[in-house]
């Protein structure tokens, strides 16, 4: 416990940003694609439309949201990502879009963000481990990006893939990890096109910290956190339901849909309540979990489905 990271011990943002720039420049020299290294303050320069706060629910302070993470690529402890994610090079960064699209291809993150209006979305994040946060993300609807690649009529699902780079992601070098990298996730296309589903590039008014899934991550607020895949390098439109990492590991525990649902219990954690972080000893902040994490407007997506079966 003495070795727990305090917020002031974490590498200052300016330091890791400049280190990133140096690393990025080095790799860019070797890489085939052109790189326009993103300036440190690119998000501040571009600006974004501010989001509406959630009534009666306070934002989780940045120190907690950036220090308590599940990102198994960097280790299985909650403080591993904050400690080790700075080792990941996020600039340059390319995303490959493939599958059932008219215009497949690789695209650099700068081009990908070109012409897209950024907006803030203040969302609840509910982890399957029965804790939750409220995070102000900065991003844009998933639909906006996917439509650019012109999905064909056969596209029914979207599959996402995280970076695999064991040299910079120590969790991927771990002998004891049971995860088969890359981490993969997926959504039905109509879920991905729901206006609440976004790609995030920032949070708390700043560029995403690496441990939160820089430079591009998914945020699907009505599903358990593991669906919101981080550090995306691949987007594939498919005809069939794509495999998803936790479902492959434990199908009994983690379904494809993984909608937040207090009525469907998990073999490890009761899903009836959650600890809204920060949860201190003297104020555990235990609250009831709401169906779809309080985003009931997505319910029509699942009309006629037995959500106990399709959990």
């Amino acid at each position: 416990m003495a070795e727990r990271i305090r917020s002031y011990e974490i590498t200052p943002e300016s330091a890791w940003l400049s280190r990133r720039a140096v690393l990025g420049a080095g790799v860019a020299g070797l890489a085939a694609w052109p790189s326009h290294a993103l300036s440190q303050d690119w998000l501040g320069q571009r600006g974004f439309a501010p989001g509406a706060p959630i009534a009666d629910e306070a934002e989780t302070p940045f120190e907690y949201a950036s220090a308590y993470n599940n990102f198994y690529e960097f280790g299985s402890d909650k403080d591993d990502p904050a400690r080790h994610a700075h080792e990941m090079t996020v600039d340059p960064w390319t995303v490959e879009v493939s599958g059932e699209v008219a215009k497949p291809g690789k695209i650099g993150i700068e081009d990908l963000l070109g012409g897209i209006d950024l907006e803030e979305r203040i969302y609840r994040l509910r982890c399957v481990e029965a804790w939750s946060m409220v995070i102000p993300w900065i991003g844009f609807p998933v639909k906006k990006l996917i439509e650019r690649f012109e999905p064909t009529g056969a596209a029914k699902y979207v599959a996402f893939e995280t970076l695999v780079r064991p040299s910079e992601m120590r969790g991927q070098r771990s002998f004891f990890s049971s995860i088969d990298w890359p981490y993969v996730e997926g959504l039905r296309l109509d879920e991905a096109y729901h206006p609440l589903a976004i790609f995030a590039v920032g949070m708390y008014g700043k560029v995403l910290p690496n441990q939160n899934g820089a430079p591009l991550r998914l945020v699907v607020p009505w599903k358990y956190g593991f669906k919101s895949i981080k550090s995306i390098v691949g987007i594939r439109l498919t005809r069939r339901q794509p495999p998803t990492t936790w479902n492959l590991l434990q199908a009994r525990e983690y379904g494809f849909y993984a909608n937040v649902n207090p009525a469907v219990d998990h073999p490890r954690w009761s899903q009836k309540t959650e600890r809204r972080l920060p949860s201190s000893l003297f104020a555990p902040n235990r609250i009831d979990t709401k169906p779809f994490n309080g985003y009931e407007e997505v319910a029509p997506l699942y009309a006629g489905m037995d959500l106990r079966k399709h959990f």
Binding site: M1, Y68, Y72, K78, D265, R275, S279, P284
Partner: protein, 215 residues
């Protein structure tokens, strides 16, 4: 400078006590820090952090307890066995406070919640089973009980291996993606148990050999 020659003080015992109690002391210090400013010591999810910390120390103390007699044999220091009881009692103390932390901080003091967890979540079932098995061992750890139970005492206290296995399974089943810790303690348990099994087997073979010669 040695006025009392007749009563040699065994400094190892208080030193060991202090060492075994140190994780509790560090936790108390962190509680104090946490009182000054919430989040300073335990981070975003204090209940999880405290419960986990106590659980980690419980399994470490349990492994330490199991290692005492093999160590005594290995280093030919039979008197080391005297310190086994205090190790075991500390293992029990950490396991009990681990459960108390889970009950108060994670289960919200809801007995219904605990009952539901006990029935529906296998890792909690084995965790609570392990703790319950520790109770009779802690109670009968005194010299008086040792005398009263005679040879049954040894038999009863072999339960500690089952408890070690339950603790490892508890850790394995609650781990979500990284199995390093569970594998480490599991391997340790196998080594410690293997040492005894091998020793007993050797002794039996020796006894059979002798009996063979006689007959």
């Amino acid at each position: 400078m040695n006025p009392v020659r007749t009563r040699r003080v065994d400094w190892a015992r208080p030193a060991l006590f202090v060492a075994l109690a140190t994780p509790f002391a560090l936790l108390a210090h962190d509680f104090w820090l946490e009182l000054q400013s919430p989040g300073a010591a335990f981070g975003a999810d204090a209940g999880e952090a405290v419960t986990r910390y106590l659980g980690e120390w419980a399994i470490r103390m349990l492994m330490l307890t199991l290692a005492v007699s093999p160590a005594a044999r290995l280093f030919k220091r039979p008197r080391l066995v005297r310190y086994r009881r205090v190790c075991g009692l500390f293992a029990f103390a950490y396991a009990l406070t681990h459960f108390a932390a889970y009950l108060a901080l994670l289960a919200g003091l809801s007995l219904r919640g605990v009952l539901e967890d006990f029935i529906e979540r296998p890792y909690i079932t084995v965790g609570i089973a392990g703790l319950l098995c520790l109770v009779p061992l802690a109670v009968t750890s005194t010299r008086g009980w040792q005398r009263r139970l005679g040879s049954n005492w040894r038999r009863l206290h072999r339960l500690v291996y089952a408890i070690g296995a339950l603790a490892c399974v508890h850790l394995l089943w609650l781990s979500k993606g990284g199995y390093g810790e569970a594998a480490l303690y599991g391997a340790l348990l196998i080594v410690l148990l293997g040492e005894r099994v091998a020793r007993i087997a050797l002794r039996r073979r020796a006894a059979v050999g002798k009996a063979g010669k006689k007959g």
